[in-house]
């Protein structure tokens, strides 16, 4: 399973036939393994890694730290879930440390993201403060390097 996961994490578009060959299993076994990983909630989805900066050079992504007053019944859950409901929000995570919730947001320009923070996040009653960090450049996302391949310094041919 570990090898299968590693292969899929690197390239989820490998076919079951290709995976089977590399793992020395049958296609049916690979299909069953993947099925189990999905059913057990280990694989929760498949996604494309998009370099937003190439796709839309004007787009901006921000990481926003929120300090939040926990609610008496639900703690952080309700607040986190209501933030997660916004379409422009890409991830919401409860954190240990100096702040409580980390939100990532992508917008078509800085003004749009700023407005979202001011009008939608900071306005929530339980949110005590926000700190917004704009992302400058990504080097690795989800374990995959997203910069141009490192130069192969090896010669083209060697006996």
């Amino acid at each position: 399973m570990e090898k299968l996961l590693k292969l899929l994490k690197n390239n989820a578009r490998l076919t079951n036939a290709e995976l089977a060959v590399m793992l020395g299993k049958t296609e049916a076994e690979v299909a069953a393994d993947i099925d189990k990983l999905e059913k057990d909630g280990i694989i929760t989805g498949y996604t494309a890694i998009v370099d937003e900066a190439v796709y839309d050079p004007n787009s901006v992504t921000a990481l926003i730290e929120l300090k939040v007053t926990p609610q008496s019944q639900s703690g952080y859950d309700d607040i986190a879930k209501s933030i997660a409901a916004y379409e422009q929000v890409e991830s919401v995570r409860l954190m240990s440390g100096a702040y409580d919730i980390l939100v990532s947001v992508t917008g078509t320009n800085i003004r749009e993201v700023s407005r979202f923070v001011a009008e939608n996040l900071a306005a929530i009653d339980a949110v005590q403060s926000t700190a917004t960090h704009f992302l400058l450049r990504s080097y690795k996302v989800n374990g995959i390097s997203v910069t141009a391949d490192e130069n192969d310094e090896r010669g083209l041919m060697f006996p």
């Binding site: 390239n11 060959v21 090896r154 083209l156 041919m157 060697f158 006996p159």
Partner: protein, 394 residues
Amino acid sequence: MIDYNKLLSPAIVNMKPSGIRKFFDIAQQLEGVISLGVGEPDFKTPWVVRHEAINVLEKGRTTYTANAGLVELRQEISNYFDRRIGVHYDPKDEIIVTVGGSEGIDLCLRSVITPGDEVLVVQPSFVCYSPIVTLCGGVAVPIETKAENEFRLTAEELREKITEKTKLLVLPFPNNPTGAIMRKEDLEEIAEVLRGTDIFVLSDEIYSELTYSGKHVSIASLPDMRERTIVINGFSKAYAMTGWRLGIAAAPREIISQMLKLHQYAIMSSPTVSQFAAITALRECDEDIAKMRDEYDMRRRYLVDAFNKLGLDCFTPRGAFYVFPCIRSTGLSSSDFCEKLVYSKKVAVVPGNAFGDCGEGFVRVSYAYSLNHLREAVKRIGEFLEELKNGSIV
């Protein structure tokens, strides 16, 4: 004007340059070539090893070491042989830390060969054996292994080539370029032919850690074979340490003491920083080796399957990081195949005959590349074969 060709050593002037030079030059001048041509790992040296080298530099440990190598390193190498091949070499006087496996091969051949001696060289194989044999005044006698035997050396093939002049057998397994290995029972057959003779064995085991089914077996571990065997190994392939230039020669002290004289005069001692780092490699990196081996193994399975599906027969190699598909079905020679492939699809592979005449009809494909790189190359080779068939490449 000096006529250098008249003045320089004829033995060297007449030495043939490596057979892949021509393709290297072609590949070099084309843009966008993707290569499957290298013989070194694509992994970086494990971080702990690199870190140890940095520490050593910071401490300024930059002097020569003992000629044979750091005592501590030789002890670790001795432990390594104990646990990996089950043969004991005394760290005191049966091990030399060399500048790559290549130096060990050179030391061994020069220490053993008397002019006129015949040296049996299993082929296809790495390119350095025969030229050095010739330089020593020996006669290199190729033993051609065959695809139908999965490129293993058989007792029969060996027996046929032995004469009263035979001094040494070069036994390079796991094999570059074929990826063949010798199982214990195969080695036992070979050992049986050699027992009771005065024939030495140079067992080049540089790819020993890259063995994919079962454990690597050294011929030195078989009864009565240690006394006649010089084991060559090193850090380049197993630990992804090619540039550190560090190899190992191990043999009975009577042989090592002769090799050490040459090493002492030609090299003095192997690179000190590399030697310290190698101690860390031997102590801490068994897991890194296993990870790299697993990764190579998946690529190996992928490529064997891919080539067979493309109609290029490819036996399943069990060692090293090469596959050796047969390209005879295209009607092309190895050289023509490689040349047309690199010009039309910009994929560089190495013609099999660069590793001995019997490699004709095959090409060597390295899988020391990422899976995505291999997939792109396979796609292009598929297009190439299709275009050959429908006549758009002539």
